[in-house]
């Protein structure tokens, strides 16, 4: 997905003179050509994320379109007040491309994990949050939203689904229809969820935009009396939207969570190791869903 990010941004740099890329000393090698081709619009600002976000706001106030990129915890958690005040409160547009949400960088330990990003950024009222499931989905979602005048967080992952869907910004997709429960899933978690739900009589709703959350899609597709939320971030991060969707549908489904538990992960290894440790492999998810339905 990171490669696609480079490709997409390189492409737009050529066609949109307003685009400015600011790197936090991350993905610098990947953008080596862009540095050469657009020295006035591609910067390796350095390891100073808070100032980089404010600087990006300054660019945006001067009608440029900033794209800020670094690892998820540094862009979301370290720079949260800058995102809130300088982009949210000032109501200006910009793009924040975080790589390595949740525990993509498992071996780096908890400082480099960021399963709280979506829950945190949902507290910035006009924030858009996009979680693509594949490189192609990132490409189409980024092109659709990068210049929309709103602050947008793109949650990139080092893993992606095998199959891309014709996703649309702000809209959920029905991947499978069933009667016993509605499984809500997001971005790169779809792969495991689809495998887990093979042969199960459940609806699968696939979200690549989680803010704004497509409440209509959930409200009209609540199957049975259960909603199972499979989140690649802290479980419960979407609960407000789930509750509002149920309210819209005038239904009271029980809501079940299959996501990252709210505890620090004091283990290393790779993503697969942590999936197994947190019971988030496809087999685990199937077992958990079967138990619920």
């Amino acid at each position: 997905m990171r490669k696609q990010f480079v490709k997409t941004v390189e492409d737009i740099l050529k066609t949109d003179p307003r685009l400015v890329l600011l790197l936090g000393d991350i993905s610098v090698f990947g953008f080596r050509n862009a540095f050469k081709e657009h020295p006035d619009r591609v910067y390796n600002i350095g390891i100073l994320e808070q100032s980089t976000v404010s600087l990006a706001a300054g660019l945006s106030l001067h009608d440029m379109i900033p794209v800020v990129h670094t690892i998820a915890p540094f862009i979301v958690e370290r720079s949260l007040e800058q995102i809130k005040d300088d982009f949210g409160y000032q109501n200006i547009g910009g793009n924040f491309i975080g790589i390595g949400g949740s525990y993509d960088y498992a071996v780096m330990g908890g400082t480099h994990h960021c399963p709280g990003d979506v829950g945190i950024l949902k507290n910035v009222p006009n924030m858009e949050i996009v979680v693509p499931g594949t490189p192609a989905e990132f490409d189409s979602l980024f092109r659709a939203t990068y210049a929309d005048g709103k602050p947008t967080y793109f949650r990139l992952s080092e893993r992606s689904n095998k199959e891309s869907f014709p996703v649309e910004f702000g809209k959920a997709m029905i991947v499978q229809k069933g009667l016993k429960a509605t499984v809500v899933t997001v971005g790169p978690m779809l792969e495991s969820v689809r495998e887990a739900c093979k042969g199960l009589d459940v609806t699968i709703l696939y979200y690549t935009t989680v803010a704004p959350f497509d409440r209509d899609a959930l409200a009209t597709n609540i199957a049975g009396d259960k909603v199972i939320v499979c989140e690649p971030f802290y479980e419960g991060s979407l609960d407000w939207d789930i509750a509002k969707s149920a309210e819209m549908a005038k239904k009271s489904p029980s809501v079940h969570h299959i996501g990252v538990p709210r505890e620090f992960i004091h283990k290393y290894g790779n993503v697969g190791d942590i999936d197994a440790y947190l019971k988030l492999t496809a087999a685990d998810i199937r077992e958990r869903i079967e138990k619920i339905i």
């Binding site: 400015v20 006035d40 619009r41 910067y43 600002i45 350095g46 100073l48 808070q50 100032s51 980089t52 404010s54 600087l55 990006a56 706001a57 300054g58 660019l59 945006s60 106030l61 001067h62 009608d63 440029m64 900033p66 007040e81 800058q82 005040d85 300088d86 409160y89 000032q90 109501n91």
Partner: protein
């Protein structure tokens, strides 16, 4: 100055809000900026080639509002609405509401890096305008101030001028020390002035350099009202209506 300070005291009293003493420490600087330096007027408030001013120490908003009213960006009536529920003028300036306000500030350490971004954008767009920002010595406790101090010379922003309002707000906590030497060592062209001397301010703000310019302005918090000067009690406090007359008499 006396006339502006009188207004500030009046609206602070009326609203029961406002950082008067910090507004008084930068009032001459604000006045020189809007009267003689910035190429901004109520008519050119959205001109793309305009200079930009960022009040990084946004809590001094009451001083900025008084100057904006004096220069016709907002009406006297608006100025006197300061702090009311429906006013466009709050305790911290809001760019989405106030004509002539470029950035919404409030949290310290945000305006300076935004000014760096504005200056960089002007460079990218090959525009001639300059960007000015005022930060406080208390604000210099924030890490982003020093991140920005590193960034601006590195990006060769010769169109940026950062004015440090050195009014010794923070002598009671984290002392800043020789701020001129610090900025100099970060690669800035520095100019130290008496921040209440309008000619010195004008000269510093119109100086040219290949490097970004840091103007270290020695100022007095509460300048002009003897009982407020150097008095931390007045950092965020408004006179009671019955006190106003006495302060107005004290004004120099």
């Amino acid at each position: 100055m006396k006339h502006l300070k009188r207004k500030i005291l009046e609206i602070a009293t009326k609203s029961g809000e406002g950082h008067i003493s910090t507004a008084f420490s930068i009032l001459e600087i604000l006045w020189v900026l809007y009267d003689r330096v910035l190429n901004i007027s109520p008519e050119t408030v959205s001109h793309p080639d305009r200079d930009r001013f960022v009040l990084s120490k946004g809590h001094a908003s009451i001083g900025l509002y008084a100057v904006l009213a004096e220069k016709g960006f907002i009406t006297e009536e608006t100025l006197h609405s300061f702090g009311r529920f429906d006013s466009i003028l709050g305790g911290h300036p809001d760019r989405t509401k106030v004509p002539g306000v470029e950035t919404s500030t409030g949290s310290l350490g945000h305006g300076f890096p935004m000014a760096v971004g504005l200056a960089l954008a002007m460079k990218i767009r090959k525009q001639k305008g300059r960007v000015y920002t005022i930060i406080g010595d208390g604000e210099c406790n924030e890490g982003t101030v020093w991140e920005s101090a590193l960034l601006a010379p590195h990006q060769k922003l010769d169109n940026l001028c950062c004015i440090v309002d050195y009014n010794h707000s923070n002598d009671r906590s984290l002392v800043l020390g020789d701020v001129e030497a610090k900025f100099k060592s970060f690669g800035w062209h520095t100019i130290a002035i008496d921040g209440h001397d309008e000619e010195a301010i004008y000269k510093a703000l119109t100086a040219k350099s290949e490097r970004p310019i840091a103007v270290i302005a020695a100022t007095i918090k509460g300048k002009g009202v003897k009982s407020m000067e150097h008095n931390p009690e007045w950092h965020h406090k408004s006179p009671k209506p019955e006190e106003l007359e006495a302060f107005l008499k004290e004004l120099i």
